[in-house]
């Protein structure tokens, strides 16, 4: 299962954090910092998997991450997930964001935290992969937007 999904930028500023297990706010922030520390010191072109930090459960958990321009996308998972599968899931997530925001950039994530959460919720639920088909995800997001529009213009 997926224990946490974190997005932070090259300076470690969190842009999205979603924990599927409960931690105190403090611990969550520490996990983000620890994860950033682990991931950011790695060279480009090394492998995308590494053992989790101590706070998130150590070697029983694995961090699977991708680095896009200014942002790191990190999934912390247990051994029941396929590493390459999760790596592709990150790609689907980013491609979906890209379609929804038209050339997504860090600012979109900052100003539309709620939207990003909603898109993520269409893919991952309670730490489990819900949907992997991008078209399906976008259809859902579209229908949500339509509802939103219809509610705004009474």
């Amino acid at each position: 299962m997926i224990k946490a999904i974190l997005i932070f930028n090259n300076h470690g500023k969190p842009r999205l954090s979603k924990f599927y297990e409960h931690y105190s706010e403090d611990t969550e922030q520490q996990i983000i910092r620890e994860t950033f520390h682990l991931v950011s010191k790695r060279d480009e072109n090394v492998c995308n998997f590494l053992e989790g930090g101590m706070l998130i459960g150590g070697s029983d958990y694995r961090l699977i991450y991708r680095h896009y321009a200014t942002l790191y996308f990190v999934f912390c998972v247990d051994s029941s997930e396929s590493e390459l599968g999760i790596l592709d899931l990150i790609q689907v997530f980013v491609e979906t964001l890209d379609k929804c925001f038209e050339n997504v950039c860090e600012l979109d994530l900052i100003f539309h935290v709620d939207k990003v959460h909603n898109i993520l919720a269409e893919m991952v639920m309670g730490g489990m992969v819900l949907e992997t088909n991008m078209n399906e995800i976008i259809t859902q997001v579209d229908s949500q937007n339509k509802m939103e529009k219809s509610e705004q213009s009474p």
Binding site: F49, L84, D114
Partner: protein, 956 residues
């Protein structure tokens, strides 16, 4: 068309975010945030009712502030109110806030549950999805209680929309993980299996996840899923990708679903039905074949998706471990990946090969890649990959290649990352011992280890080399010579001095014939290191000196002078001073005969499992911990693997087997016992060696240990070494030996508890007449009711057996019940007794209270008998977060802002027993400078205060 238009949305939110981003300093940011928080707070508290839009806007702001790392302690109520809105957007924000910010034991859960209930019955699929998401994300027990029975019917109802089915399946899966006892099995299970045939691949994927988890728990109930999964997989793998709607990802047909199905099949042995079996084999072959085809796209996503399926197929082949041709093909495929230009694939190939190495069919095939793996160790840029290479070398090691592998690991050690050095040291030590053909090689290897990575050589490692030298006559002379030479180095590691002191003290006589290593030279050499060493090493050296007096009467006067010097006799350290005085007196008054008896050569050590192995297992984490979520424990259990390799090599003599029960009777007046029993007070390096498992402790307690060790066989003792680790946690491994591992998962609620005990058979042979029962002392029987369900009398090799214990706390108690386990293994009756970690604090319910309430109650409990206080030294580093976690784990609520000193911890809770409830307040005051704690407990009952104090004070 962009799905999210950027123009609309909440202006106030955008302005606020821009403000934050324009802040030049952290202080400015905090100031702006506090201003906003105050604003929102006043809006929420204001008289004017807020409209849905404003609520939504403010809740969004709070979310943003939370993401920046600030605590949000209000707004929950407003978010809950949004749930009952009819507007989708408002409802959605409400749910979002709750799933990000509300924890599972919030007192708002009942209100939230109400909202969820309305949405679940609304028949509006969007609302239903929101509600199901919320249940899955929060996953609390209250929610499970409220909805666990309702969700299966949503899942299997004929008219449920696909997207809702997907959510319902995963929601059920989540509840099954968090509160398995509340999810009822029933007639829906059969219908869930048929979801594998569903038209919609998203539903199939979700169902496959759910079934995998359920099948791990009750394989029999879900056996029908095998044929459906194989059929589905076969359709995906063989069909042209056009049939699969949109689930083709970069030219790979439904990769995620394939992975899930292959995972599901890993819950079972190969299908018995021949037709089904050949259909599955066909699938696996097709997947392997596709790997050889030229890629349909150059994109990395294409190869990732394809290989995700391939690796899972290989995992299944390894799990089945029954088709030699497939295993060898898998091995060859991984061999290709070992040299692939993608680092990810090299990493995964190394990891998969570790498991492959444990199969007798493919062990030899794996070994052919040794050069590539060694090369990876030397050239990989990424430490994670190098670490996997170390693991694989360890897994593929056997008698034929041990020398090469150990040599390569040793040379890698010199440049290895600090984080993994200790692990490598342990692995080298284990391999060197396990595959030693001649002991000189073993001794050389360990001394090399100490020389190269002395700081990372743990006590277990050097204890072990001494045990082995003492137990093997033929290596003693060589060992003495080698340490003597190694000590010549001007700077040597303290661990080397310890080994050197010990070995020369025992066997220095074997090399004393050579004038270059005469007794005096040996003594001078050791003594030249003395002043550079720490107290425990000096103590050990003093013991070596007194042994010298016995071995070499000619150096007696020299040594006596050293002992007599002020720096010894008046040493500030009590231990050293006492040793010097006692050894000096002993050498003066005892006759040669007595001296010879007291200082006789150490008798052989009784054999037990190498403590190094145990240490590696600990380091590697709970390798075969009964984790139902973890289908691949085999994959990580390298240690277990090598034991099974050992099993296949039974014919060849192994050092381990040689060393196993030596059963040489120990003389009843054996020297070590005498040394520590009275005459010497405390000769602790020696006794430590006898008590490898005990933490270093004072001489007095060691004395008892030594006695119990020599007079009663250890196996009949009640094992309680892990007991105290369970005070603040509920799950983990409570006991482990070479045959059996016992893991626990426990949950408590008010005065009731339930423990799932998992017995893991670590051998390949079945245990017969297996029984496990709970024994309580007479007084405990009246205080605690424990009902143990009967268990199956046979446990297959490698299998796991589960037992459920139901517990009811009648009144407060101090003793702990004992789990008594008996079984036959290879004809011999085994009896194991384990102290069960059922402690009084398990029946805590945390209670939050305000500062003034706390102090009022604190004062009410002012009678001297109600308070227990203890001051004690910190045994672990004093880390606030760890302490927080421990106190929460102990079961009480942590109260912030109650104690005027923020460094102190204050907690409160209620102990629930059947007869009564006992309120409890506690306060823990750390003193970082002195590394001390003061713990104060006040409860209305003296016995409760005392017991809780004893339990908790042991944890820091």
């Amino acid at each position: 068309m962009p799905a999210v238009s950027k123009g609309d949305g909440m202006r106030g939110l955008a302005v606020f975010i821009s403000d934050i981003r324009n802040c030049k300093s952290k202080e400015a940011e905090v100031k702006r945030i506090n201003k906003e928080l105050a604003n929102i707070r006043s809006k929420f508290k204001g008289d004017k009712a807020l409209d849905g839009y404003s609520k939504k806007k403010y809740v969004c702001k709070l979310l943003f502030i939370f993401l920046l790392g600030h605590d949000i302690d209000f707004g929950h109520m407003e978010a809950v109110n949004l749930l009952s809105s009819n507007k989708y957007t408002e409802k959605q924000i409400g749910y979002l806030f709750i799933s990000v910010l509300v924890n599972s034991n919030s007192d708002l859960i009942r209100l939230i549950n109400n909202g969820i209930k309305n949405d679940l019955t609304s028949r509006n699929p969007t609302f239903m999805n929101l509600a199901l998401h919320c249940i899955a994300n929060v996953g609390s027990r209250e929610m499970a209680e409220a909805f666990a029975s309702q969700i299966p019917s949503i899942l299997v109802a004929g008219d449920t929309m696909d997207s809702v089915k997907q959510s319902a399946a995963l929601c059920l899966l989540r509840l099954n993980r968090t509160s398995p006892d509340l999810v009822p099995m029933g007639e829906w299970t059969a219908r869930v299996v048929h979801l594998l045939n569903d038209q919609h691949l998203g539903v199939v994927t979700a169902a496959a996840s759910l079934i995998t988890t359920l099948a791990q728990k009750s394989p029999e109930d879900f056996k029908t899923s095998i044929s459906l999964a194989v059929a589905r997989l076969s359709r995906i793998v063989t069909s042209a990708s056009i049939d699969l709607q949109d689930y083709t990802y970069y030219f790979v047909a439904a990769p995620w679903l394939s992975v899930k199905l292959l995972r599901l099949l890993q819950c079972y042995t190969p299908p018995e039905d021949a037709a089904l079996r050949s259909r599955l084999t066909e699938c696996l072959e097709t997947i392997l074949n596709k790997a050889q085809e030229p890629p349909k796209s150059k994109k990395v996503q294409h190869s990732n998706a394809k290989n995700a399926v391939l690796f899972e197929a290989i995992a299944l082949i390894i799990h089945h471990d029954s088709e030699p041709t497939l295993l060898v093909r898998a091995c060859n495929q991984l061999g290709q990946f070992l040299q692939h230009r993608e680092t990810n694939l090299r990493y995964l190939a190394l990891e998969s090969m570790c498991t492959l190495a444990s199969s007798e069919f493919s062990h030899e095939a794996v070994k052919t890649h040794i050069d590539t793996v060694i090369n990876a160790l030397k050239t990989e840029r990424d430490v994670s990959v190098r670490q996997r290479a170390v693991d694989l070398l360890y897994a593929m090691c056997d008698r034929s290649n041990a020398k090469q592998i150990v040599a390569e690991m040793l040379s890698y050690l010199e440049n290895a990352d600090y984080s993994i050095r200790e692990e490598i040291v342990l692995k080298v030590a284990i391999l060197a011992e396990k595959y030693a053909v001649d002991y000189t090689w073993y001794v050389d290897t360990i001394l090399n280890l100490i020389r190269m990575a002395g700081d990372h050589v743990s006590e277990e490692v050097w204890y072990r080399v001494i045990q082995i030298v003492i137990n093997r006559d033929e290596v003693q002379g060589y060992a003495a010579k080698t340490v003597f030479e190694a000590l010549q180095a001007p700077a040597c590691h303290e661990n080397l001095v310890k080994v050197g002191g010990y070995i020369l003290g025992e066997f220095g006589n074997l090399i004393a014939g050579d004038s270059r290593s005469s007794p005096l030279v040996q003594f001078d050499l050791l003594h030249s290191k003395f002043h550079l060493c720490s107290v425990p090493t000096r103590a050990l050296l003093l013991s070596a000196y007194i042994k010298f007096i016995n071995l070499f009467p000619e150096v007696k006067t020299t040594i006596q002078e050293v002992l007599r010097s002020d720096s010894q006799l008046r040493n500030a350290d009590v231990e050293l001073q006492q040793r010097a005085i006692e050894y000096l007196r002993l050498s003066c008054i005892a006759s040669t005969d007595i001296l010879a008896t007291v200082l006789e050569e150490m008798p052989p050590f009784p054999e037990r499992e190498s403590s190094i192995l145990a240490k590696l297992k600990r380091k590697k984490g709970p390798g075969i911990l009964p984790d139902i979520d973890d289908t691949r424990w085999n994959g990580n259990g390298n240690v277990e693997h090598s034991e099974s390799v050992e099993g296949t090599n039974k014919s060849s003599p192994s050092l381990m087997a040689d060393l196993l029960p030596t059963n040489r009777p120990r003389p009843s007046s054996s020297s070590p016992t005498m040394l520590s029993a009275g005459t010497m007070g405390s000769a602790h390096p020696f006794t430590d060696l006898l008590n490898l498992n005990s933490a270093p402790s004072a001489g007095a307690s060691l004395l008892v240990d030594v006695l119990s060790d020599s007079f009663s066989p250890a196996s009949q003792d009640v094992s309680d070494e892990n007991f105290s680790r369970f005070v603040c946690k509920n799950n983990g491994v409570i006991f482990e030996n070479q045959l059996l591992q016992i893991g626990l998962k426990s949950e408590y609620r008010q005065n009731l508890g339930r423990i799932y005990v998992f017995f893991g058979n670590k051998t390949s042979t079945q245990f017969l007449s297996f029984s496990s029962s709970v024994i309580s002392s007479d007084s405990l029987k009246t205080q605690l009711n424990i009902h143990a369900k009967a268990v199956d009398p046979t446990v297959e090799g490698g299998a796991q057996l589960q037992q459920i214990l139901n517990i009811e706390c009648v009144s407060d108690f101090t003793d702990a019940p004992v789990l008594d386990i008996q079984f036959r293994y290879g004809g011999a009756l085994q009896n194991i007794a384990v102290k069960l970690p059922v402690m009084l604090n398990k029946f805590f319910q945390p209670t939050e209270m305000k500062s003034q309430d706390f102090f009022q109650r604190w004062k009410q409990l002012g009678v001297p008998q109600q308070e227990v206080q203890t001051i004690f030294k910190a045994k672990h580093p004093m880390d606030t977060d760890v302490t927080n976690a421990k106190i929460l784990g102990f079961g009480v609520a942590l109260l912030d802002g109650v104690d005027p000193n923020p460094a102190n911890f204050v907690g409160s809770g209620v102990i629930h027993t059947k007869s009564t409830q006992v309120g409890c307040l506690l306060r823990l005051e750390p003193n970082a400078q002195a590394e001390m704690y003061r713990l104060t407990l006040r409860t209305s009952r003296e016995s409760v205060s005392q017991r809780l104090c004893d339990l908790l004070s042991d944890q820091f």
